[in-house]
Amino acid sequence: MSERPAPAAPTGRQGWIAWLERRINLTELFSLFSHFGLVYTPVDTSRPLREALRDVAAQPVPTFARWPRLLGLVAAVFFGLQALSGLLLAHYYRATPEAAFASTRLIARDLPFGWFIHQMHSWGALLLIVILIARLARLYWQGLFRAPREVLWLSAAAMVGVVALLDFTGRLLPWDHEGYWSVVRGLEVLGGMPVLGGMLTFSLGGQVVNADLLTRSYVMHVLILPAVLAGLLYVTFATLRRVGLSPESGEAKGGSTSFREHMYAVTILQVLAFGLLVSVAVLVPFRFVAEADPYSTPGGVRPPWYLLAPYFVLERLPGFAAGWVALLLALALLFGPFLFRGSDARASLGRARLWGIVLVVVWIALTAAGVFLDRAS
């Protein structure tokens, strides 16, 4: 595929990289890695790693590529952290109703630094959802669903869905009281959707929360959904490489900086994000109270916070209508923005933004209603 690498650079320094370079194409490995973020420009795999890196570092990057345009990259790193902490948790976690709670408690309570890993994973999931939702809002606001970035939008919207499912399946795994019952409730909402719901409950093995469902949630949580998310990350960065970063009107002439400097800025952002996660994980204990009791439904069971708004509506609709409304909401999230098209790009973006604001306000109002009204009843 790639050409034979050129002989090692005649610098005279015959370090271990050069030694390795003669035996394997490190540049190719690097380009593979860069598919999941970091480098937006194509990498010339025919050149030695040092040269290729120097090339990449010298690439110009527009100065507008700064916070908050880099939420996708932060999400990618958070996903990596989740994978790492999840891997560690999986060493002790046992996915059966009898052992799930005890093994999670063992991790969170008795293992040295188990609490830290558990907390990092719990809060990391929450922050990941928040980051991806913020990113979706940002893409929508700047009209990045318009040609040629439709695929970017679709993958971003799908990512929110996948991470929500990851959170949903992950909620069940500790088999604690709150998680268990919020999954029972959430399954009623999600399972009511005409096609997607059927697919979801089929792949989870039904709507009854039992040992089978726990095992399948575990498989989805640690194998299937992370693989899908990794694929979506790849798609995201692949579109970036094709269509480039998107300047907002009037920002294009903001000048450019080198990729090297850009990478340092990105790294600082990642370090800050990591620091935030560690601080939250250490300071705020995630709720982890008592083992699930399938025979006693606690009062005021509600789905997770990001499902509160649809739940508030669906709860008040007859079953069949609720399912259709939920399905339409999911489809609207994916394809809705594509409805805003027209000859006047500016006007259609304005309309899209207006609708977006209306949607967000309605969503927040419904969530608030779900929090306060349903608690009162």
């Binding site: 408690r105 309570r109 008795d110 090297r260 340092y264 600082i268 370090v271 250490v282 204990p285 982890f288």
Partner: protein, 411 residues
């Protein structure tokens, strides 16, 4: 044999058949009491309905068993003839019931006691009745007349939770104006007591009702000097400690020594109020005497120990929320609570050393639990400290990154 004689014989046979023992009532009739009521229910439907669901209907105690007369006659004159007694007088009711219920042979199949009548005669009710006061309770006032039900039946007036109301019918404040015997609002006082709370609100079937202290058929107020025995039926430990202390029943003059009711009251008895250890002594003793001081000391001991146990429980709850492993400490805290539970009865001995033997042990356990939990929670402070160190290095990392970022421009 002439035709006339045959006819006569046939008539006699018919008449004998009609007057002879009636065929056994069908099971259905027996079940709804129609058999026992005979034809009386035709004119007395209300009594028949009440009787039909009663215990007596199931055992074929018939109308005529108590009222006499003939229950197969539809004619008033014929029915109310012969042994007919009509409505038994109140004074005669105990003896009437006793005619069966004091009969050992009759009661043996039911395994029922036969001493109720004898007990009744020793009761306040029985003695007053013997003096000719017919306003006092007789059997039917508590058990009902036609609708007698076993105590196990929740509809029964003598079903345990219904007993206070049954007694309160005469001994309550609600009926005292309408010619009740006792003017004291005993029922109204009782329903506010800790005993009634246990019986009604917490559903404790063993909680004391009126009869637990006063007796059932032999109902009478506990006599002077027997109060500690009555209360001691349930409050054994308290009684033992009282007996070991200066208030023991056999010490001092009968009139001067306190009974349980002296401090706790009788019908109005409330839940244990440890703070009254400090205030009750002065009811009998001098305000600045050694006894009052002892009371204050007992209360102080209890209060301090109780506060320490509560404090340990708070720390435990904090540790649980972390989560830390607290199972071992829960068991030890329960041990401390057990000592505290024993300390209150022990206060009845009015001896500081006895009480302290419990409060000191409770405090020792609570302190131990607290200090060990604090050590564990101290590790959490260490986490926060490490977080500060972590941020220190994070900021240094960021500064170094900034420097590298700017380096080419400088060079």
């Amino acid at each position: 044999m002439s035709a006339a004689r045959v006819l006569f014989a046939a008539l006699v046979a018919l008449a004998l058949a009609a007057a002879g023992p009636a065929p056994r009532a069908s099971a259905q009739e027996a079940a709804d009491g129609r058999a026992g009521a005979g034809k009386c229910g035709t004119c007395h439907p209300r009594e028949r309905v009440a009787y039909a669901s009663s215990r007596h209907a199931q055992e074929e105690v018939r109308c005529v068993s108590c009222h006499g007369g003939n229950d197969r006659a539809l004619d008033v004159g014929a029915a109310h003839s012969g042994s007919f007694k009509g409505r038994p007088s109140r004074a005669s009711i105990p003896r009437l019931c006793a005619s069966c219920h004091a009969d050992e042979e009759r009661m043996r199949p039911y395994n029922l006691p036969v001493d109720q009548y004898a007990l009744y005669q020793t009761s306040g009710h029985g003695k007053a009745l013997a003096r000719g006061d017919t306003r006092v309770a007789v059997c039917s006032d508590c058990h009902g007349a036609h609708d007698i039900l076993p105590p196990s039946d929740p509809r029964s007036r003598v079903h345990r939770p219904n007993i206070p109301k049954t007694c309160g019918h005469c001994h309550g404040d609600t009926t005292s104006a309408s010619g009740a015997i006792s003017g004291k609002p005993t029922y109204g006082v009782y329903v506010k007591s800790v005993h009634a709370h246990a019986l009604f609100d917490r559903g404790n079937p063993n909680a004391p009702t009126c009869v637990s202290c006063h007796g059932v058929h032999g109902a009478a107020p506990p006599s002077m000097g027997s109060v500690d025995k009555v209360c001691g039926q349930c409050h054994e430990v308290e009684r033992r400690y009282v007996a070991a202390g200066p208030h023991a029943p056999e010490r001092g003059e009968a009139s001067a020594r306190p009974q349980c009711v002296t401090c706790h009251g009788s019908h109005e008895v409330t839940a244990a109020q440890p703070e009254r250890l400090a205030s009750s002594c002065v009811d009998c003793h001098e305000a600045d005497g050694p006894q009052a001081k002892l009371g204050e000391r007992l209360w102080n001991d209890y209060r301090v120990a109780s506060a320490e146990v509560d404090q340990a429980a708070d720390v435990l709850a904090r540790a649980e929320a972390v989560p830390l492993n607290t199972e071992d400490y829960q068991a030890r805290l329960e041990e401390a609570r057990t000592y505290m539970r024993e300390a209150l009865p022990a206060a009845h001995a009015a001896d500081a050393q006895v009480v302290e033997s419990f409060t000191q042990r409770a405090r020792a356990v609570a302190r131990e639990v607290q200090s060990e939990l604090h050590a564990k929670l101290g590790n959490l402070q260490l986490r926060r400290l490490l977080l500060v160190v972590f941020w220190f290095y994070l900021i240094i990392t960021i500064l170094i990154l900034r420097r590298f970022q700017k380096a080419p421009r400088r060079g």
